[in-house]
Symmetry: C2
Subunit: 401 residues, 2 copies
């Protein structure tokens, strides 16, 4: 049906490539490219062995538009799945525009020199993609991604108006390391050390990092200490669901994890300001990334599971209603299937699903879209088929004031 170019060969790229290969009637040709071709080759060899499908690999520096253009032109994909670094969203979008190819990513662009999560830079591409007749799907991992689809599914089927949304993201896994991040440490630490932010009564409210925290009960897991943090899908969801009175995002962090984060900041290793070290400009956080365990290597002994979902309160036919939709994903299951841990798995599978729906014509249109702007039903259907089964609870206590 179509050709896909996947850019980025970390844990998520691995999962996307596996899942595309497992849907080879849709993804008839697959190329995996990254700065380090050997990583792509390793994944390709695993896929050949486990799935029996051959994928192509290539080296590309996603910071450099002409390199991207050259690769895209030579391979001729119908869609590019960008699971490289968020810094590289704009160069890849530029290359897609130049080569007239559809685009999909899992994390919003952020400038390297500032830890700032917002869609403004990518939404600014709306007119360009519209004029080119191309589809750009933004934020199609799990969160953002599945969480946006969950919300639009709730809105479509169960609510006249959504008033309160709490996205709850729990990782109850144990990777057995003293400290490691579940995805790119640089991006992870930038994200979780920023100020908290949530939407209430038409305004964004700021909190200190991890200022607001409480125990939340997760299905099959139990109570876990969860903290209010800012997460990028809140920005598009309050825009696309204007009846929202409040929207928040909660993520679990262990005391041990927070202690490590606090120390990393205290000692200056969380800084994104370069220092001069023996004549070389080095960003401490990037150096720390090189020292920390590779998140891609955590899978093998990763125990436990994740649970991510949306807790929604609103009205239907004049009556108040609550709704909770979620997926639980076991790290060992993810590893058995793709040699990646659950956090990579839950991000990579939705990216493949989004691309599949674009190729099948179920999602589309000219312009730049967040996932909640599309029809949620085929996506929800695919989640059940592709290894991310979801569950829903109606009129339960959402544990949210």
């Amino acid at each position: 049906m179509g050709k896909v170019l996947i850019i980025g060969a970390g844990g998520v790229g691995r999962v996307v490539a596996y899942k595309c290969a497992k849907n080879s009637s849709v993804f008839t040709e697959i190329m995996l490219a990254s700065r380090t071709k050997s990583k792509c080759d390793d994944i390709a060899a695993d896929i050949k062995k486990d799935v029996g499908i051959s994928i192509q690999t290539a080296k590309v520096d996603a910071d450099v538009v002409p390199e991207l253009v050259k690769l895209i032109n030579s391979f001729g994909p119908d869609i590019v799945i960008n699971v490289a670094l968020p810094y590289q969203d704009l160069t890849i979008m530029d290359a897609c525009l130049e080569t007239k190819v559809n685009y999909l990513d899992t994390a919003n662009y952020e400038p390297k020199e500032e830890a700032k999560f917002e869609y403004s830079w990518q939404w600014a591409y709306q007119e360009k993609f519209k004029a080119a007749g191309l589809t750009a799907v933004l934020g199609c991992g799990f969160d953002p991604g599945a969480t946006g689809v969950f919300t639009s599914y709730a809105a479509k089927h169960y609510f006249d108006e959504i008033h309160y949304l709490d996205i709850v993201d729990c990782n109850a896994g144990d990777h057995g390391k003293a400290f490691a991040t579940n995805f790119n440490p640089e991006i992870n630490i930038r994200e979780v050390t920023q100020e908290g932010k949530f939407f209430e009564d038409g305004k964004w409210k700021i909190t200190k990092p991890h200022e607001i925290g409480k125990d939340i009960n997760y299905p099959n897991i139990g109570p876990m200490k969860s903290y209010l943090i800012y997460h990028e899908e809140l920005e598009s969801l309050v825009k696309n669901f204007p009846t929202m009175k409040r929207a928040r995002f909660w993520m679990t962090f262990s005391d041990n994890y927070l202690t490590h984060l606090r120390v990393i900041l205290n000692i200056g290793m969380g800084s994104i300001e370069p220092i001069n070290y023996n004549g070389m400009e080095i960003v401490p956080l990037q150096f720390l990334k090189a020292v920390l365990p590779d998140p891609g290597d955590l899978g093998e002994n990763y125990k436990g599971e994740t649970s991510i979902g949306c807790r929604v309160r609103g009205i239907k036919n004049g009556a108040e209603k609550t709704y909770y939709v979620y997926n639980n994903c076991k790290h060992p299951d993810a590893y058995r299937e793709t040699k990646a841990q659950g956090v990579s798995f839950t991000t990579g599978v939705p990216a493949m699903i989004g691309a599949k729906l674009v190729l099948e014509g179920k999602w589309g249109g000219a312009g730049v879209f967040n996932v909640e702007q599309f029809n949620p039903d085929p996506f929800m259907e695919e989640m059940n088929k592709q290894g991310l089964p979801w569950h829903e609870l109606h009129d339960v206590d959402l544990e949210m004031d």
Copy 2:
């Protein structure tokens, strides 16, 4: 009376230079040299302003013997005070031998690739210094240094046999930073993250890092949590006082400090194994040093004081006796006098005293010596004059089992 070359322009080098300048009838010419000449110039300018004495400055790479030899030959010192890095002890000793100049340092040599504190490498220079008719004074800071003199003073005046020695090192200061080390972070972290070790019944006993800890009461400070760590003077003291049944070293660490250390190790930033970062071999601990606050900058707002001393138990005239000799040093006093904090001050002043005694002929002899091998009396006298007054308590509860 004599010319002194000080190598090393950190906090300790600053204090040594100040104190030599304040004893200009003994140190008639002073040169301060380091890899970074501008640091020497800054100190020289401060000394000119505060003490009214001009000192010379020079650039030297203390890793390179010919550079050292050239500098020593051109200046012609009577003694070299080495307060550079412990890695550089041997090159500086080699240069002193080649140029026939006396030598003094404050910390034992350790190889860069292994955090190993022992005198073997430097004691191996015994025959060379003896043959050359030169004096090498090892470990003449506070600890090692004053602690060795305290012990020999106790042995000389109050004990027939010393049986139990506990060196207690308390820093009850507050520098107001979330985390900083009081001297070179690289050396500090190597030292405090190693296994604990103490001497008992003729054998060295190993503990896990910070395995043994307890509250110890320090004069004018009160109880502070103190941990048994290995410290280099134990090696020479049990050798030079063979009646010793047990010798231990205790140092205070706050919970916050230990948490930071634990995390630094967990995240791999305490490692001395180089990693390849963008084609450059970088030792994580050395990079961390570049990111952490410069210990030389801690002085200005440093509150509180240090207390370092020896708690001795043994026999005199057949009766058991206890003895506690210590110095307390207030960080603000140290800063007012030298613009350095107390940890630098307590290390630098004894180095100057040792060099003064060598120039005055009160300490000397051909060979390599630890400080407890010299007459302690003139050193103890100088401590009272030079800003490190000591106090003694007889037959008190040493709080040691």
